[in-house]
Symmetry: C2
Subunit: 232 residues, 2 copies
DNA sequence: TCGACTTTGTGCATTACTTCACAAAGGCAC
DNA sequence: GTGCCTTTGTGAAGTAATGCACAAAGTCGA
């Protein structure tokens, strides 16, 4: 069993669900900071982040005790602590492979640059696209993937290629020593242990919406419609 | 105690976690169908979808008993059942508001069209963009949002505008009777009860990756680095 | 028809996450 | 100081999701 020693409950074990919400809090806090708010209560921050305040407090308590009872949280200080916990106080060199519309959207997305991510390379296999200037960078041919990763210290790769190309890119990237991959291609990537893959499928959320919308309209899947295929 | 109303063949409550995985199974099944696979075991399908097989079986059991013991699941039949459950056997008219790179990527995304979603309108506030031809549609000015929704039976709206514009678009959309919104803008939308909002933040997954990457490198947040701001 | 074999569907134990509710901590007025 | 007020941080209770392990149900060859 590969699990934490029962001895050490104080180990840096932040629940996954909490980690997933920290970026949300960070965004809300940045919004407050822009409006020059100095201090915020868990209640107000929870509203701004769209969660329940008890959950917010418990989440923050996993990072440490950074609030002041009777007052709330210092906005700047909390931004710093969450950023540090997420590793956003350091500079991450990111390469984006696949410069279609999605790759372009990502390259231009302000939310990356403003959070410690630096787009260090844009690569594409299509000669038509190579050479384009996007977000201050020149698109390079994906043949040079390995050298871009090595020379520019890339530690996170974003895959935004068509589905059929994704696994091959993934393999090459891993061979170059990258262990963190963000995959936008609609395929399940096979990777060795120790490599972290996170995926975003743009259509999944839409399908979940359709599920709920359907229930609003008619209380569930259409009944009485029969399957016409062969079941054998 | 499972009480079923005579008209409902089975309990209607499918866990959220299950609903969120159904699109994943559907994608894996479509991949199998393309390769002309007729039947699949929970074990194989689980691998293809990147989940554990017990979980897969439990998820599918919430939809009904569609497998055959000793054999597995009929691929086509299961595709049909999951699609029906998710509401993808009907046609959903979707409008995309905000035609930047992301909006274009979404409009061209095959995963939408192939799953029962029909892009019925592309709208943008920028006169420069209005009139462009994208994915077989002409971009319209967002002034016409209400009329597009009403005339084309739009029931789901995708917001891909810059953050500052999102809430206003959201309000107008809701006023037009839409109750399902997919939000790509990095803001928390305020909506009345009964309206479903799902959000996708392209940078959240990247931040979660950074969190894990940081731990691989140095076992946690950089220590000894002190906060330089004013706390009290 | 039978028996060996495969694979589903699910009860149950476990783990993870959420929410409640309140004592303790600190600020602030006087 | 003292006492009131606000808000945090957290045990404890409640809820949801996961994974194990196996009986039941079905296939298939002989």
């Amino acid at each position: 069993m590969i699990r934490r020693t029962p001895q050490q409950p104080r180990e840096r074990g932040i629940p996954d669900a909490t980690v997933a919400r920290l970026p949300l809090y960070l965004r809300a806090l940045n919004g407050l900071a822009e409006r020059a708010v100095a201090t915020v209560s868990s209640e107000d921050l929870a509203v701004a982040a769209g969660v329940n305040s008890a959950k917010l407090r418990k989440d923050l308590s996993h990072l440490g005790s950074y609030g002041t009872r009777g007052v709330g949280y210092d906005v700047q200080y909390l931004i710093y602590q969450i950023s540090r916990e997420l590793g956003l106080t350091q500079d991450w060199a990111v390469a984006i492979v696949g410069v279609g519309n999605l790759g372009r959207a990502l390259a231009n997305y302000g939310g990356f640059v403003s959070r410690g991510f630096r787009v260090a390379g844009l690569l594409d296999a299509d000669p038509e696209v190579v050479g384009d200037h996007i977000a201050g960078l020149v698109v390079e041919h994906s043949d040079g993937l390995e050298s871009v990763i090595a020379k520019r210290g890339v530690s996170i790769v974003v895959i935004a290629t068509p589905a059929p190309a994704a696994q091959a890119v993934c393999d090459r990237v891993i061979a170059s020593g990258v262990t963190s991959i963000l995959n936008f291609a609609p395929v399940v990537l096979t990777v060795p242990a120790g490599v972290d893959v996170r995926k975003v499928d743009l259509s999944i959320e839409l399908q979940i919406l359709a599920f709920h919308e359907q229930r609003k309209v008619n209380g569930g899947p259409v009944m009485g419609e029969e399957w016409a295929g062969e079941v054998s």
